[in-house]
Symmetry: C2
Subunit: 229 residues, 2 copies
Amino acid sequence: MHQTIDTALGINLLHANQAGADHNREHFDEWGITCLNLMSSPGAGKTVLLEKTLAALQGQLNMAVIEGDMTTELDADRLRQYGSPVIAINTGRSCHLDSKMVAGGIHRLQEDYNPHQFDLVFVENVGNLVCPAEFEVGEHAKVALLSVTEGEDKPLKYPIMFQEADCLLITKLDLAPHLDIDLALLEANVRSMNPDVTIIPVSAKTGQGLDQWFSWIKAQLKVPQALIG
Amino acid sequence: MHQTIDTALGINLLHANQAGADHNREHFDEWGITCLNLMSSPGAGKTVLLEKTLAALQGQLNMAVIEGDMTTELDADRLRQYGSPVIAINTGRSCHLDSKMVAGGIHRLQEDYNPHQFDLVFVENVGNLVCPAEFEVGEHAKVALLSVTEGEDKPLKYPIMFQEADCLLITKLDLAPHLDIDLALLEANVRSMNPDVTIIPVSAKTGQGLDQWFSWIKAQLKVPQALIG
């Protein structure tokens, strides 16, 4: 459960979360890990994107996933079949991951593996287009997903997510022909919130755009790719 | 902004919200109004469902809408063309409507109209499958929407919304042929969370299921429909 807080208490809580996020990022930096925080509405396709990404990049990069869900390990189990470690975090009644929860995941990575071995850690956040955008977890970049089924107006109505994103994936592109969606207007609405965000339209079903997504990931790596493998 | 709270503070905040919700409901009861709280992920189709509903039931019922969005009056403007009063509430950084915000909407209905004239008030919540389910606003019933594009697993992963719902609309049924969705499994997952919920599959695009939705609405009315109009 959570509550809207506009007071000094709220500012203190965000400060505490930020301090924890900075501490998490120091760990990642020490180990040469790039951390990407994936966020979207429920059902926009975070998990299937990760499935395609783990399958495509295994052998090239050493990856792990910190998987946030209110309940169940359904998504964690889907991702485990690709061979990378997947740490499941159940948030209970909380609608987002915070830096303390992710610190718990980092400690489990540290206990069970040599953390220096990893190049890339994905954090899959709870499905929510509002709250995760406000809670840094120690990531180096924020990746937002918006499905074409959600409509062109969402960047205007849920501005914080789109303002905070470093990369925006427009997902389920294969469904666009069955919808009354104006993709140019959608992109213009994203740009009005965040002129510099990288926008990549993708379809996990057809594979469209995935190569561009993989290239973007590689450009974020702390350790230059030429040195890997 | 908001924060996860598991403490006595959180319990007090929920108690205060509940007291406000009970007070709102007393107003609705006094005026013979039924209030329905519509909740879903962003883009599941709350606004287009309300458009179809206002268009179909105008002349039969006297309706108003309390429209919650973080920013903009985009949805409120879409609904205003159907002739019913639409009170827009911008929640700012808050990811849900609470009973105090809705009380503000009720007071505006009371100031600008004779509230006894209304049969039905729809509250359209902020698009979020997690948080709105925990904050009663004075509604008589909770209506959740889940789009077929969101996947069968969502009732298991976001249990509170599905446990709290009195009616679940499975929306965008027209897209099902283009998806790998198992509707029987989806319904079974919903029933595992909430055996008694009314489930109505609909498509706002084709009109499928809308008559069943309108019948469900009429069965919720405080004033028996035979007495109306």
